[in-house]
Amino acid sequence: MSEAAAAAKPLPVVPFLKIPEAGDPYLEGQKCGVCGAIFLGERSTCSSCGARDKLEAFRLANQGTLHVYSIVHRSFPGIDVPYVSAIVDLEGGGTVKGNLINIEPDPEKIQMGMPVEVVYQDALGRKDREGNSYLSYFFQPRG
């Protein structure tokens, strides 16, 4: 790892994870000003209604509910299993997929509809070829 990479702050795991100079990281959505459809990541045209240049960035909530999940026991080589792949509906709109953590990977313990929150942590130690670290988002049960 280069000195520069080691000293640099982590990079966002996806472009819609924003890491401001000051303040906490957050997820950013794009909302169509015509039909209200919500997207993740930059775009200029709404694929729901076709409106152009009507999308506005907004801060997605860190609270949501678990829509559905799967417990993944077999994955690609080098990927640790098991993990819970979760689809989460955020309060105020927006649906995000990610790992649900701090819960037993057991269907008896996971309730669809349960309240969850978005937490921001290092990307499981994964680094890119240049040795950069990444900040990722995860979901965990909310009290």
Partner: protein
């Protein structure tokens, strides 16, 4: 516009043929379909070929290099798991348009082993297992869990799909497997992505299937003997849905296609005597019972519990063994399921024959997404 008929159709036994090339597999099926029609390659006015793995490799032309380079137009199609059905539909459309009277459609695939799905390429770091899963078993597990969430569908009900389809394939010598898998075996098999165990995931196999399509005038001229009429051919893509950025939606495009197909054919779901649908995972079959209108919303669990979709039931589904046991060679699957339905309509399905079958439906979904539905009718 002319009606379109299938005059000849066949598939190779699905399996693993590493010693063969993709064009060789496609050529074998093409010759079988031509023989079934009693026609020669020189009579084909165009060829539509579906293949995904070598989508840039001019597979259709290379099939003709194996069986007869007649100089006719060849179109190569790639449309994920709807690839074969798309090739069939391209052939159908060219006849509908009055451009040709006889067209050969071929679907072929040689598969690797292992998991399908995005490993999360692109820049940065791998996203699999970090931002959830993009593996196909997990994607379809999540789609199934949506049904569980709404209607309480159980792991056991999903598993019953696999028991049924494996049972069906014991009567199909062209299926990859002919093995009974009792419920406990299915449920206790290695868990891949809950609720899909290994026996609830389709089998990666090599395969090829082909069909000869004809205009009505040509079909009458050649004799309608064993012909099968194409009553509807529909292709849809995924309409916008609020979660579809993170959760591929296999339901909306299927519902859209089913509605259009029933309208085109002037038929309803009650008219359908058998269905070959896209059981890429056991969870998917449950969803499609409702998407195709075989039962009302929320009734799919009951349908599988009561055996209504088993051979001998009200509307047998995947009597071939389905993708779960016959196998799923992506580019061949769409024509192979048209072969299965045609075989029943011709009354030639032997031990697994659906009695008095007059109308059959085929359905495939390519994630991304493409849904193709065909409705077929017995002629004589």
């Amino acid at each position: 516009m002319s009606d379109v008929y299938v005059l000849g159709i066949d598939m190779i036994k699905f399996g693993r043929f590493p010693e063969k090339t993709v064009p060789q597999l496609g050529a074998t099926a093409a010759l079988m379909a031509l023989d079934d029609a009693g026609l020669k390659i020189q009579q084909m006015e165009a060829v539509c070929c579906g293949n995904l793995g070598q989508a840039g490799g001019m597979v259709g032309q290379r099939v003709l290099q194996e069986i007869g380079q007649t100089g006719v137009p060849v179109v190569n199609c790639a449309n994920a798991c709807a690839t074969g059905a798309t090739a069939f539909r391209e052939a159908w459309m060219s006849i509908k348009a009055g451009v040709y009277d006889l067209v050969l459609a071929v679907g072929v695939e040689q598969m690797g082993r292992g998991l399908l799905g995005g490993a999360g390429g692109g820049s940065g770091i791998p996203k699999e297992g970090l931002l959830g899963s993009g593996t196909m078993p997990a994607v379809f597990a999540e789609a199934g869990m949506e049904h569980s969430r709404k209607y309480g569908t159980s792991f056991e009900q999903f598993a019953k799909v696999s028991v049924k389809n494996h049972h069906h394939s014991t009567m199909n010598s062209k299926a990859m497997y002919q093995i009974e898998t009792p419920l406990e075996t299915v449920m206790n098999a290695e868990m891949i992505a809950y609720p899909n165990t290994k026996l609830m995931c389709s089998v990666n196999v090599d395969g090829a299937a082909a069909a000869v399509l004809a205009s009505e005038s040509k079909a009458r001229e050649l004799g309608l003997g064993r012909a099968v009429k194409v009553k509807a051919s529909v292709l849809t893509s995924d309409p916008w849905q609020e979660r579809d950025l993170v959760m591929p939606d296999v339901n909306s495009c299927t519902r859209l296609a089913a509605k259009a197909a029933y309208e085109m054919a002037g038929l309803g779901a009650d008219d359908v005597d058998l269905v070959e649908l896209h059981d890429c995972f056991a969870t998917a079959e449950i969803l499609h019972y409702e998407n195709l209108g075989l039962c009302g919303d929320g009734e799919a669990g009951k349908l599988i519990d009561e055996g209504q979709t088993a051979l001998g039931g009200r509307v047998p589904v995947n009597v071939s063994g389905g993708l779960l046991s016959k196998g799923h060679p992506l580019g061949a699957t769409g024509i192979a399921n048209i072969y299965e339905v045609s075989t029943h309509l011709r009354g030639e399905a032997g031990e697994r024959q659906v009695e008095n079958a007059r109308i059959g439906m085929t359905h495939v979904i390519g994630l991304g997404s493409a849904c193709a539905i065909h409705l077929l009718e017995k002629v004589n």
